[in-house]
Symmetry: C2
Subunit: 373 residues, 2 copies
């Protein structure tokens, strides 16, 4: 470990900015909460940036301060794992708009001394990446050996490669897409409407009294959670089995295990996540369309890129199904970029990127070892 | 037309019952709202019962009294259509538990003179079918030439054939299943939680002051509506096109057409449907497992059946996908029942059974003509 206060767990930095957002607003100063693991080589050649998903956070391989759970990607990050603090200098930052310490709707607006709430500017995936680039500048890392992420994390990886091609040697995009489909937008809109329908939401101004729109946020999470799992996975895990009873109750209790599980997912989520952040980050994902940012041609986003790309999809992922990854691969091919792609078989649906899929860890390990001396 | 008051549009009948429900409760008297079209032959050989889906109603081919829209299956039912009032005597009844005139949670409990609300007994698909059989008795029709329905309507058809095999000559099951999967239950549970999270729901006792849980019901409908459409259908219909604007608003308006469409679906639904009925009917669907009712063997439900079966599924239907229909066909084969099955190609997803799929109407027409002299 270094004595440099910029490195280590539970870091917070305020960067002056301002950051000019895609929406035209100038945002600053900007707080970024992040963690680093491992030691940066003197030649700075071993830095890996991990980008988290919608409800993820910077605690990729350390204990979550609210839930007390271990990091969300300890299968990927740790000693002897594909991303290894013994070999790599690992950075993971809470995305702009989130609620674990980086600037977001729950942050205090310096101009008013009140929480931004819905006065926080609408942000994009590119804005999240720009904020990460400010952090990487602060860490004085000119080039990242790799940027990696699943789901919304993969969108950030694509945006990193498109926006800062000279700063990304390897890009790993897992279970992701270069744009949000109509169905993706539809599911997010249901979640947003569930939050906004909660009378405790109060147009986002709920921070003062601590009465948060927990019922709406729980429903949003439940709806989203279904999309993270496959039908076959749900059938294998729960089927039509009853929850702690021998017969149907002929009532509205959680008779079925799958109901009980979903309710638990909803209720536990509200303890660790801010409803307004959920609105902002889903909006950023819905707005994401990398081709649109490049004249309607996805290949233009990668033209002349020297970045090595690796894409992984899962056959049971119906949220960002394999054809979405193939579209990206075709664009990379058209742009003449180096791209490898594998579709892995898994029963876990979209969530597979977080779960025990040994092939994924082998693919990531091999790809990283080939790129980082 | 007959002078018999039992026949015609907008009929209501109160039957004494009591009906012994699957939950063990005796329910009675029972109101059934229904319509008939066409003329019953003297030998009563041309009666067709149409079973509606979750949010459907008896107005299969006549104007809906609230929305003013034409019937929900006018492509199927009408002069020159597969089900033709010139040839058939057509019955369609609002299901038990619904809100268009048949007994349901909004009905008055004769014991208390108050709306049942959540004191209405939990019902099953079989209970719905038993109530329909009471109506068919009332109409003095011993045997139905055909029972037909899509989605939850198809579940009722299966239940009719299993419970009253001697009263169903032909059974047409479209876009349906013999049981609700874990994913089906999960989506319904999200809808129920959305309704119950609405403070206006008040444990179901919202009838007195007319302030209904419209926000929760709208969210429930939005979530369900996504499952009725295919991803490809949503992409073709809406893609990422913006709604009445040239650029993203960088706000939380319905920027995308798909958002605007979904919001409209949610808002317009609450004008015509009762939130408590939504709870009860989704519960009945989740409870549905025809094999479970027959010792765990679906084939047992059809053993010795003389009914002719026709099953239709759609390749883009991910709510009740083709394998669910195949399971039924295998059970029918195992039971030695006469079964034909076709998977049709359509981009419309589950909703295809209500839409312009000419092959479906040809299949239904051919199947009915072969069975009704």
């Amino acid at each position: 470990m270094s004595d440099d206060q910029r490195y280590g767990l539970a870091r917070n930095i305020t960067l002056a900015g301002p950051l000019v957002l895609d929406g035209g607003v100038q945002l600053g100063p900007i707080d970024i909460a992040y963690e680093t693991y491992g030691t940066l080589r003197p030649d700075k050649s071993n830095a890996i940036l991990i980008c988290h998903a919608l409800t993820g956070d910077q605690f990729v391989a350390s204990t979550h301060p609210i839930t007390g759970k271990t990091g969300w990607w300890t299968r990927m990050v740790g000693p002897g794992k594909p991303i290894d603090p013994e070999r790599h200098f690992i950075i993971c930052a809470n995305v702009l708009g989130s609620c674990m310490g980086s600037s977001g709707p729950a942050s205090t607006d310096q101009a008013t001394r009140l929480p931004y709430a819905m006065r926080f500017p609408v942000i994009t995936i590119r804005d999240m990446v720009r904020a990460q680039a400010m952090l990487v500048d602060h860490l004085r890392i000119p080039v990242l050996a790799a940027v990696i992420g699943g789901s919304m994390g993969g969108m950030q990886v694509l945006e990193w490669a498109a926006t800062y091609p000279d700063r990304v040697r390897s890009a790993l995009v897992i279970a992701s897409a270069a744009r949000h489909s109509a169905q993706n937008i539809a599911f997010h809109e249901v979640g947003r409407q569930a939050i906004m329908a909660d009378p405790n939401w109060r147009n986002g101004d709920y921070y003062a009294d601590g009465t948060v729109p927990s019922a709406g946020l729980a429903v949003a999470r439940m709806a989203a959670h279904i999309t993270y799992l496959s039908e076959i996975g749900l059938t294998e895990k729960f089927g039509r089995r009853l929850q702690a009873r021998d017969a149907k109750s002929f009532g509205f209790d959680a008779d079925f295990q799958v109901e009980s599980y979903l309710r638990h997912q909803g209720i536990s989520f509200v303890d660790r996540f801010d409803a307004n952040s959920y609105l902002y980050i889903t909006r950023a994902m819905d707005y994401f369309d990398l081709a649109e940012e490049h004249g309607g041609q996805l290949a233009n986003a990668f033209k002349g890129s020297a970045t090595r790309f690796c894409l992984i999809s899962f056959d049971s992922d119906w949220l960002y199904p394999t054809p979405e990854s193939r579209l990206i691969v075709h664009a990379l091919n058209a742009a003449g970029a180096a791209a490898s792609f594998v579709e892995l078989s898994s029963p876990y649906g979209h969530d597979a990127f977080l779960l025990d899929v040994p092939e994924m860890y082998r693919v990531v390990d091999g790809f990283l070892r080939a790129g980082i001396a």
